[in-house]
Amino acid sequence: MVAVESPRLETAARALELQGVGRRFGGLAAVRDVSLALEPGERRAIIGPNGAGKTTLFNLVTGELRPTAGTIRFFGRDVTALPPHQRVRLGLARTYQTPLVFPRLTVRDNLYLAVRGVRPWRLSLRAPRPGDPEFAVVAELAERVGLRHALSALAGALSHGEQRQLEIAMALASRPKLLLLDEPAAGLSPAERESLAALLGSLDPTMTVLLIEHDMDVAFQVAQRVTVLHEGSVIAEGTPEAIASDPRVRAVYLGGTHGE
């Protein structure tokens, strides 16, 4: 286990820093005493068996859930009490484990809302015109995730994989400083996985990425460091190689029969 103890002064440089973060649901401690620090530009994977508390941890970082203990800092700023929409405006974007898009709006409008979301006048009462600069961004985002042909389709009519791509494009629309991806490869075909990996590889290297991945192969391909969560707690953190050979990780996660 790697203890994340560092002097307070250095925290300003951290993209994300969790200190003693916990969340209880009644009697269940879904996340307990998690401390975690991401350097700007770092690519970190969180792995762990189902129910380990990975998604809950994401919800705490984005503000959709309030922690019952601990503090969360985003580029040095304490955001523990900040509502989700304000964290997004600071540069935090996410995707969901089950793709969450607006099914009865077109792909174009989904992306348009995503682009507008972090800009002033996001609730303008003036209808956009085709020449508005936002649409150039929308087209560029759609191109990047291979959905240019589907701009006029309803998002609800897209395949699972396409909705995933759309969601990633929506997250990128805000030009986030920290991107959280909740099992981005789940349910994708091998071809889709490949284009996902290419997309993640093409991201701005200064962007910090935290991704949950069930599949160790995918996690290890993208991430420089891996954090292992088990029953709400961090049980290991290190390079993919170190994690892959860690006996505790093998015990709880890889289903190894003998522990210790």
């Binding site: 984005t62 959709e64 509502p83 989700p84 929409h85 997004v88 405006r89 974007a93 996410r94 969901y96 969450l100 898009v101 607006f102 099914p103 009865r104 709006l105 077109t106 409008d109 989904n110 348009y112 809302l113 995503a114 507008r116 979301g117 972090v118 006048w121 996001r122 609730l123 303008s124 009462l125 003036r126 209808a127 956009p128 309803l154 929506m170 629309a173 805000s174």
Partner: protein
């Protein structure tokens, strides 16, 4: 030319020329009330169809605009334009307040809270004499006069209601394409997602409720000019529910549904009452059969018919580009 556009042109021509060939009774007693009731119901379609907020308080808000206008012009003797401004302001403020109270809930709870708010205002209007005029309400309310011409004159008033109705309809359709309207539809389906894009969902709900309240207030002004008086009966439980009945019969998710539903409603209440005391039963039956036979209301039915016609004319025509609400 699409079936929809052809239909729009026909409806426009018929409604504009209507006073020239329609009977005074139909112009004044059927279509005129259908138009202002349609505007009030449209405020519900906007909230429910786009925002997923089914409010029972729209008639209350419309009534408050009427009370505001009556209080200012009759009780305080102020000019009509002040009455209009005051009435709309009261409606918008009341809506904002209702919105603040109700936005954190959804579905059936939202419905019940707005109903409770409506009943609170009803009780207040009944008991308060100084402003609301108690049980009697405010009598002798007059529509504005422009160039010595009262707007309440039958044909003039019909055109006023038609103009306001068309403008409201066009505005709501326009609104659907604005960032405000898109975000409203987005929060109807996935509020979490919208918040995760940087939008303040609760604030947006309150804003939408306020905007809809303003629209209801416009309809409420037309109604009070038509009736020449306002009393607690105008905002009692039955009237509150009538707005819902109208919007559902017409099709909640369609802007035109509000007017279609209002027309059916006024027709049924007028003609059913001539042969039976139980026109509420008749309305109830119309409501039930709509919900059972075409949950998308009459507009949904027409929509499906139009698509069928189009498929007949042009088999293999592209999929309809209807506005994507259910």
């Amino acid at each position: 030319m699409s079936v929809r556009r052809a239909l729009t042109i026909v409806v426009l021509l018929l409604s504009v020329s209507f006073p020239f060939w329609g009977s005074p009774y139909f112009v004044g007693r059927i279509f005129t009330p259908a138009l202002f009731l349609g505007v009030i119901a449209l405020s519900l379609s906007l909230l429910a169809g786009f925002g997923g907020m089914v409010s029972l308080a729209q008639m209350t808000i419309a009534g408050l605009a009427g009370y505001g206008y009556g209080y200012l012009t009759v009780t305080l003797g102020q000019p009509w334009w002040l009455g209009i401004l005051g009435g709309l302001l009261v409606a918008a403020l009341a809506a904002a307040l209702f919105g603040l109270i109700a936005v954190r809930s959804s579905g059936i709870y939202f419905l019940m809270i707005t109903l409770a708010l409506g009943m609170v205002v009803y009780a207040l209007a009944n008991q308060n004499r100084s402003v609301f005029g108690g049980h009697t309400g405010i009598l002798g309310i007059r529509a504005p006069e422009l160039f010595g011409q009262s707007l309440a004159e039958r044909t003039v008033f019909y055109y006023l209601c038609l103009g306001v109705g068309l403008a409201s309809y066009a505005y709501v359709r326009y609104l659907a394409r604005t960032p405000f309207g898109l975000a409203l539809q987005a929060l109807r389906d996935e509020p979490r997602r919208l918040a995760a894009l940087g939008y303040h969902v609760a604030l947006h709900r309150v804003a939408a409720f306020t905007l809809a309240g303003f629209l209801a207030g416009i309809g409420g002004l037309l109604a009070v000019w038509y009736n020449g008086a306002i009393s607690p009966t105008t905002i009692d439980l039955t009237r509150l529910i009538n707005v819902m009945v109208i919007a559902v019969i017409g099709g909640l998710a369609y802007a035109e549904g509000a007017f279609l539903g209002a027309l059916v409603f006024v027709l049924v209440t007028n003609f059913a009452s001539s042969f039976t005391q139980r026109f509420n039963t008749v309305i109830g039956l119309v409501f039930l059969s709509t919900v059972l036979l075409s949950p998308e209301g009459l507009s949904g039915l027409l929509d499906r018919l139009a698509r069928a016609v189009r498929r007949r004319i042009r088999p293999g025509a592209a999929l309809p580009q209807r506005f994507p609400t259910e």
